[in-house]
């Protein structure tokens, strides 16, 4: 596995740091199906938090609750000290929550550059009329944001595909562009839904490095879902484990690894 190749990360987290995000008793059901059942956990400022669990455990639903795609029937979401029942995607985005998707959700007809620039949408404030003119303030705003985007392009080493429509890129690169778009939002909390799914070893190593660098250099708090246990154990500071919508474990990677419930959930128990 990747255990040997990913550098061990110095703990970036102040264990007593205040939670950036806290979910309290969140319950989400679709009709009769409970996707998430009374789950509480928090994400501390500056940490890398992994959410793991077998397929169908409710991990992606959890992310969708955090960035406002789904609205839980019960429970509260506390983000940056504000308690609320539900997020709206726009509020989540404007308050610094960015995300990537399990099945790459890029703007396929647009170039890499335009995709990443779309991530700057909320940073650009000039109104409709200025936009129409595309002159003066609107233009300088465009240039300023373009500069920020170029930094991200350099960081993720995707200079060569700047002008390529993303629909034509191989899967691994699409994932990287999606990360770039999320980073363009200057997020405080970055949600990554299986950032390494379907990647080969080398691509996984690259992605792990980028995730660590983002966390270390920019202090971005990261919550990620991942199936590759090697990656999860190496990257994350704390791990929360879901199974059938219920939280079955929460703690440091080593603790979670030894937890009997977790082992049972992954391997099954004889009946």
């Amino acid at each position: 596995m990747t255990a040997a190749v990913v550098p061990i990360r110095a703990a970036a987290t102040d264990a007593a740091g205040p939670p950036l995000l806290a979910l309290e008793g969140v319950t989400l059901s679709f009709g009769g199906v409970r996707a998430i059942n009374d789950v509480s956990f928090d994400v501390r400022k500056g940490e890398i938090r992994a959410i793991i669990g077998p397929n169908g455990a409710g991990k992606t639903s959890m992310l969708n609750v955090i960035n406002g795609f789904y609205h839980p029937q019960q429970g509260t979401i506390t983000y940056k000290g504000t308690v609320r029942r539900r997020m709206r995607p726009y509020d989540a985005a404007s308050q610094g929550i960015a995300r990537t998707f399990q099945n790459v959700a890029l703007f396929k007809g647009m170039t890499t550059l335009d995709n990443i620039m779309a991530g700057r949408t909320l940073k650009m404030k000039r109104g409709f009329l200025w936009q129409c003119l595309r002159y003066g303030p609107a233009l300088s705003e465009e240039i300023e944001n373009r500069r920020a985007v170029e930094e991200i392009i350099d960081f993720l080493e995707i200079e060569a595909i700047r002008k390529t429509p993303v629909g034509k890129l191989p899967y691994g690169l699409q994932k990287r562009v999606e990360l770039a778009r999320a980073l363009a939002m200057d997020p405080e909390l970055l949600l990554l839904d299986e950032p390494m799914a379907g990647m080969n070893l080398e691509e996984k190593e690259d992605m792990s490095r980028y995730i660590l660098d983002v966390n270390r250099l920019w202090g971005t708090t990261i919550a990620l879902i991942e199936h590759d246990m090697g990656v999860v154990m190496d990257l994350s500071d704390r791990v929360v484990v879901l199974d059938y919508g219920v939280k079955i474990a929460d703690g440091a990677p080593e603790e979670v690894q030894k937890n009997q419930d977790v082992i049972d959930a992954y391997l099954g128990v004889p009946h």
Binding site: N67, F69, P89, Y90, A93, S94, A98, R99, F101, A105, L106, F107, K108, G109, M110, D114, N115, M117, A118, G119, R120, T121, L122, M124, R126, F128, Q131, C132, R134, A138, E142, G167, K168, Y171, R181, A182, A184, M185
Partner: protein, 318 residues
């Protein structure tokens, strides 16, 4: 042999032997094409941003023109009436977003398409209720649009140009270039394209669907108003205009549903193609082919290039 001669050779002989007449036909076709292109542009805007084929675009043309004429008839100056019509189109865009699109968000496209059919009949009813069903005359002169006729002596004959047609072409070109640049180089334009590609992803980067939808429907309303003025100036402002709007379908199939240049080129091909067909090939089967030739061209196109001339290539990765 006679038939082959009549179909393949004779029309071209006619064209060459009377170049002035050919020029006249081409110009008429060009103007018709520009108007088709304008209508198609309205469809493309909404299709790009929401993936909906907006069946109501035709009636929006009629409704905009009727509002303009109706407000002028109340006694206000033409420019005030024009401004107020823009306000009405904006209110319409907001209402459509609030009452039709928002409750149907995340529904399959076909549902939204059905909703636009509903919107069509609602607008027909509302238009008839407020303005009455009889045809009206467009207030061309009050708007300061030229109405004269220009002649051009060429090839030993005379070609006539309606000044309103020249104005229509000029306005269409300005609008198309403006919209094209706006879509390509600004934040809102980028957001529009982003919404068109992937709703969820667009939401996740903080693009407001509501705002984008209002902007596209309003832009489509402005395009509808321009189309209504131009078309109204050539004939009357009547509900029959919305049937002509269906000509946008072959235009879109030809140009591609997602391409602004496609709408223009498609419009011109259809406009010029059907005029040429009507004049030079029509008499062979007794005329009247103008009304269906466009659809035949579109069908042939579907066989060979289903995404249209400029449509986004359908990229499938397996």
């Amino acid at each position: 042999m006679d038939v082959l001669w009549a179909v393949l050779v004779q029309p071209f002989v006619d064209m060459v032997s009377a170049p002035d007449f050919l020029l006249q036909v081409l110009w008429d076709g060009f103007v018709g094409g520009v108007l088709y292109a304008l209508i198609a542009l309205g469809f493309v805007l909404i299709f790009k941003a929401s993936g909906i084929f907006n069946f109501a675009q035709g009636i929006m043309v009629v409704f905009a023109a009727l509002t303009l004429v109706g407000l002028y008839a109340l006694g206000m100056p033409a420019w005030v009436a024009l401004g107020l019509t823009l306000v009405v189109m904006f209110v319409l865009a907001v209402a459509v977003e609030r009452l039709v699109l928002r409750p149907l968000v995340n529904q399959p496209d076909i549902i939204l398409f059905m909703a636009t059919i509903g919107l069509t009949y609602f607008l027909i009813g509302l238009g008839e209720f407020v303005f009455g069903g009889e045809p009206k005359v467009m207030i061309t002169e009050a708007l300061g649009l030229p109405t004269g006729m220009r002649e051009w002596e060429v090839f030993g004959g005379v070609v006539f140009f309606q000044e309103i047609d020249i104005a229509a072409a000029a306005i269409a070109i300005v609008m198309v270039v403006g919209i094209g640049v706006f879509f390509h180089y600004t934040r809102i334009g980028r957001a529009l394209r982003a919404v068109a590609d992937d709703h969820q992803a667009a939401l996740s980067v903080g693009i407001s669907l509501e705002q984008i939808w209002v902007i596209v429907w309003f832009t489509a309303g402005v395009v509808a108003l321009a189309t209504g003025i131009m078309w109204g100036a050539r004939s009357d402002v009547s509900f029959a205009l919305q049937i002509i709007a269906l000509k946008a379908l072959p235009v879109l199939i030809l140009g591609g549903f997602t391409s602004i240049p496609g709408a223009i080129v498609g419009g011109l091909i259809i406009g010029i193609g059907e005029k040429l067909g009507e004049i030079y090939w029509g008499p062979l089967i007794g005329g009247g082919i103008e009304s269906w030739l466009a659809y035949v061209i579109a069908l042939v196109f579907l066989l060979f290039r289903p995404q249209g001339l400029f449509g986004e290539r359908i990229i499938e990765r397996v």
